[in-house]
């Protein structure tokens, strides 16, 4: 795994796609305040997921939970390059994208708790949280299922003509499925304002990506559609942010889609249900925890940039934990939906 990551680091902003599509390597760093806000979002995702896992195992959250722990830099790096009106779609592992796009923690947690006050009134649960008011078009329980839908949001943005963009988050597994290829072909042909962001966490559910991907790099697939394919270190939030910023500018300028592959790692199992089935080695998981995107970003801000003190960081974490606890309190205080509401909202 280490050589791959070294490769990813070297390859930041390296264009795998068609020659001439060089995106540049300029660092478009957000202002210090925005960087601290990015760290806050990443830690909020981390603490939310830890609590979701905990409360799932305690029996308060039902069904299934897929934790985003370890991949926070991707959602935050990309969404920090977007405007509120821009649209995203997520996957079964969707809590991080919701938070990064600005979703309300209380309504998210209430949805996990199956309550009436949840984003989906208790009809969706962990895999189906959406907030159309902030451009979050939903987590989606079908691998690759959301890619065509958000490509339709890209079509809508193009027709609107207001410079909006749409972002598809998906995993390495989805890049092997038909909807990925069909959608990117259309988006490239029609020059839709799209970002296709592959979170290559090296595992397609419980199978190593090395056993399912014909190529090592998903970004190389961009060449087949004549669009830029970019590899970034997905555990470096600033690298992700830079790549997304360039791709967003390209999309807004009417130059079409970009495929960004973020090399990252899922620190927990595919789902919280399957803890007993773990095909990965302890050494592999631990080696990636050493490259944890939050520790790395926080240390960077504290040590190298001097933007954050240890005390600030501790205080930020305490505030986040309070907000997470408040969301759980909100969820627990909320009523379950009325049973007969099961037949509501089938049709508009």
């Amino acid at each position: 795994m280490v050589p791959l990551r070294d490769k990813a680091e070297q390859a930041v902003h390296h264009i795998v796609g068609k020659s001439g599509h060089y995106l540049g390597n300029m660092r478009m760093q957000p202002s210090p305040n925005n960087q601290i806000e990015m760290l806050r979002q990443m830690q909020t995702i981390r603490r939310f997921e830890e609590r979701a896992s905990n409360d799932f195992h305690a029996g308060d959250i039902y069904g299934v939970v897929h934790c985003y722990i370890g991949e926070e830099a991707v959602a935050v790096g990309v969404c920090s390059a977007l405007k509120r009106d821009d649209r995203i779609i997520s996957t079964h592992r969707g809590h991080g994208h919701c938070i990064a796009k600005g979703a309300d923690l209380n309504r998210m947690m209430a949805e996990l708790y199956g309550r009436e006050t949840g984003y989906c009134k208790g009809k969706g649960g962990s895999m189906h949280i959406a907030d159309f008011s902030i451009g979050m078009l939903g987590a989606n329980g079908i691998v690759a299922g959301g890619i065509p839908i958000v490509t339709g949001a890209g079509l809508a943005a193009q027709l609107d003509g207001n410079g909006g963009v749409a972002v598809s988050f998906f995993g390495d597994g989805a890049s092997n499925a038909g909807p990925f290829h069909e959608s990117i072909n259309i988006a490239a042909k029609w020059k839709l304002p799209m970002l296709y962001v592959c979170e290559n966490n090296l595992h397609s559910a419980n199978t190593p990506a090395s056993k399912t991907l014909a190529l090592e790099d998903v970004a190389a697939r961009a060449a087949g559609y004549g669009i830029p394919g970019v590899i970034v270190d997905g555990n470096d939030v600033m690298a992700v942010h830079d790549a997304a910023t360039i791709a967003v500018a390209r999309a807004r300028a009417g130059e079409g889609p970009t495929l960004i592959e973020c090399k990252t790692y899922r620190q927990r199992g595919h789902t919280e249900r399957l803890e007993a089935y773990e095909h990965r080695t302890y050494e592999e998981i631990e080696s990636w925890k050493e490259k944890d995107p939050i520790t790395r970003f926080a240390n960077n801000l504290i040590q190298r940039e001097g933007q954050l003190s240890e005390t600030d960081w501790k205080q930020m974490d305490d505030e986040i934990l309070e907000a997470i606890q408040a969301s759980v309190d909100f969820a627990k205080a909320s009523p379950f939906p009325k049973p007969e509401s099961a037949v509501d909202d089938i049709f508009a």
Partner: protein, 317 residues
């Protein structure tokens, strides 16, 4: 009144709604030149032959304020898009707690008779009826086609417009002036007193022909056309059966778990309707086989006016 074909009625409805609402757009593997000329290639989009992606894109555009009309052309090609239809379009409004509307129309021809063999001769509407969250229309006349298509485009939900391939050239009265027809309302195409035939699409016309023959034998047939398969107008069907006391259902699809089974059930499970039945319910459907190519085989598989008339005689015996 002027007469236009079933196909023209659909095209006319589409063009009128495209004129009426700038948020409408058409996605199809074939872009009709007349529509491109009038509405431009941004709203009338020729797509790759990738029904899954195109269907999903329509869902996304619908969730972002547009009213896409996707022409799958033949229902055969909808199967390529089944994930987007079943897992996404039918559930997305409900699953997200009703927070967004998804106004969508999917057009597809159904039926046989074209000697096109199994993959291009299918009537699988009951598969879609089984999903909660899709409205389904299946008109039998140009008048119904136009009125229902306009309502489908204006509806804030996913609507599948199944269209009978056998009826494309069938002409009928369609007024010049604007009108719409409600989705979910059946139409009594012929009044009668001895037996109710609920017939679907092309078989409405075969049932009307059978009714003429049977009238000469002294049998008074009522023909009910559901026009929409979801919602299905149970009340009109039950009212007719309560009046006639007998029910025959004619469907170009096979009988197994079909629309015909649903119609039989909604008549039989209603106590007042059941109490009025003077004979067992009968279904005249296609044989439960993949549709074969050779004319001799295809004709054997499908129901027609003669098989309907024979069915009626059997019920009355």
């Amino acid at each position: 009144m002027r007469q236009i074909s079933y196909a023209q009625a659909g095209s006319e409805a589409l063009a009128e709604e495209l004129r009426r609402d700038p948020k409408t757009l058409v996605l199809s593997t074939d872009a009709a030149p007349a529509l491109v000329e009038e509405f431009g290639d941004q709203r009338i989009r020729a797509t790759p032959i990738a029904e899954g992606a195109v269907t999903g894109m329509a869902i996304g555009a619908a969730g972002c304020g547009y009213r896409p009309i996707v022409n799958w052309r033949i229902v055969t090609f909808s199967f390529v898009a089944m994930d987007q239809i079943v897992n996404q379009a039918s559930k997305i409004h409900y699953m997200f707690g009703g927070q967004a509307k998804f106004p969508l129309v999917f057009r597809a021809t159904v039926g046989g008779g074209g000697k096109l063999a199994a993959q291009h001769s299918q009537s699988p509407y009951s598969m879609f009826m089984n999903l909660a969250g899709l409205k389904i229309i299946l008109p039998s006349t140009p008048y119904d086609m136009k009125g229902l298509m306009k309502s489908a485009i204006r509806d804030d939900n996913p609507v599948i417009s199944f269209e009978s391939s056998r009826l494309m050239g069938f002409k009928g009265d369609v007024p010049e002036e604007e009108y719409t027809l409600p989705i979910g309302k059946a139409d009594v195409k012929r009044e009668g007193s001895d037996i109710t035939i609920v017939a679907i699409a092309w078989l409405v016309h075969e049932a009307l022909a059978a009714a003429e023959t049977l009238a000469k034998e002294g049998v008074s047939v009522e023909v009910v056309d559901p026009r929409s398969l979801f919602p299905l107008d149970a009340e009109t069907i039950r009212t007719s059966v309560r009046k006639t006391g007998r029910l025959l259902i004619a469907d170009e699809a096979g009988p197994t778990a079909g629309a015909s089974a649903e119609i039989a059930a909604l008549a039989a499970e209603d106590a007042n309707t059941f109490a009025c039945l003077k004979a067992p319910i009968k279904r005249v459907c296609a044989l439960q086989v993949p549709i074969p190519y050779s004319p001799v085989l295809e004709d054997h598989v499908f129901p027609d006016r003669d098989k309907i008339a024979a069915g009626v005689r059997a019920v009355l015996r």
